[in-house]
Amino acid sequence: MIVCVAVVGHQNNPLYIQSFTDADDALKLHHIVHCSLDVVDERVNNPKKSGPTLNETFLGLLYPTENYKVYGYLTNTKVKFILVTTDLDVKDADVRNFFRRFHAAYVDAISNPFHEPGKKITSKTFAERVSTIVKSFGMSSTG
């Protein structure tokens, strides 16, 4: 199950962050997302470590914590997408697919002429689309 997704701008400014848990641990998830930004920077600046995935937008598993796995995705425009999940065996293809759809939703959201670049995304349509994508992620990994 996905517990948190985030969009972070090119100056590490949060553009959108949403957790999907009933428990009151939003702050903890935000902290995990925050920590993952350093890992993203490290991956990008030391490309040797990432090996064959050089310059790919999908950064793969950033780091595992005791309860969560954190995945990252960096677009050409230096916007980072972060995904925090509780699933232990996640298929790489599923995560890739998730990020692709998430990116598409993001592109549509910022194409809104009333959206100011670099500001938080407040669009309700975007939030709805993201929650649909998040829900269907659970479906595809179980089914």
């Binding site: 090119h10 050089l54 310059n55 790919e56 937008t57 960096l74 677009t75 050409n76 425009t77 230096k78 916007v79 692709r100 990116h103 598409a104 993001y106 592109v107 910022i110 194409s111 002429p113 670049p117």
Partner: protein, 155 residues
């Protein structure tokens, strides 16, 4: 509309306004068209993307000629730039073509495509800015319908 009505007496203001509109368009389009691509490694990669994929999406053709001095200046030449290739100016709106009016019309004929080119400059600038490259873009419409864009990357 911007050049003729709102800012009729302030062409430089109209130009910057049109440029800003183009900037927004380029900014948004570049996000969309780079979705399925690996990240760019250097400036040349990004400029090549503008010349090939970005231009194909906008105009169904690629940039015809790309020149660079390898020090941050790129010249992108389109031999038949679609947005101005079919542009003509209505002579009737200038009334009788006396010597003075003909001169004014001449001036206008030079200025009109310039105004439209500010938009395309803005598009290129917005796209490159979004890809993390700060630059200034100017257009050279001296040999219409061929048109060249000069991109100067700020160090």
């Amino acid at each position: 509309m911007y050049c003729n009505r709102l800012y009729a007496n302030k062409p430089e203001l109209a130009a910057s306004r049109i440029d800003a509109i183009g900037y927004q368009v380029g900014h948004q389009l570049s996000e969309r068209y780079t979705m399925e691509r690996p990240r760019f490694t250097d400036h040349l990669d990004a400029i090549k993307f503008i010349c090939k994929d970005f231009w194909s999406e906008l105009f169904k053709k690629q940039i015809d000629n790309l020149k660079t001095n390898h020090r941050g200046t790129f010249v992108l030449q389109d031999n038949r730039f679609r947005w101005v290739s079919r542009m003509s100016l209505d002579p009737s709106e200038n009334g009788d073509l006396s010597q003075e009016n003909a001169e004014a019309a001449e001036n206008k004929a030079v200025q009109e495509p310039n105004m439209h080119l500010h938009f395309s400059c803005g598009v290129i600038k917005g796209a490159l800015h979004n890809l993390g490259i700060a630059c200034a873009v100017s257009a050279d419409p001296s040999q219409l319908p061929a048109c060249s864009f000069v991109v100067r990357i700020k160090p």
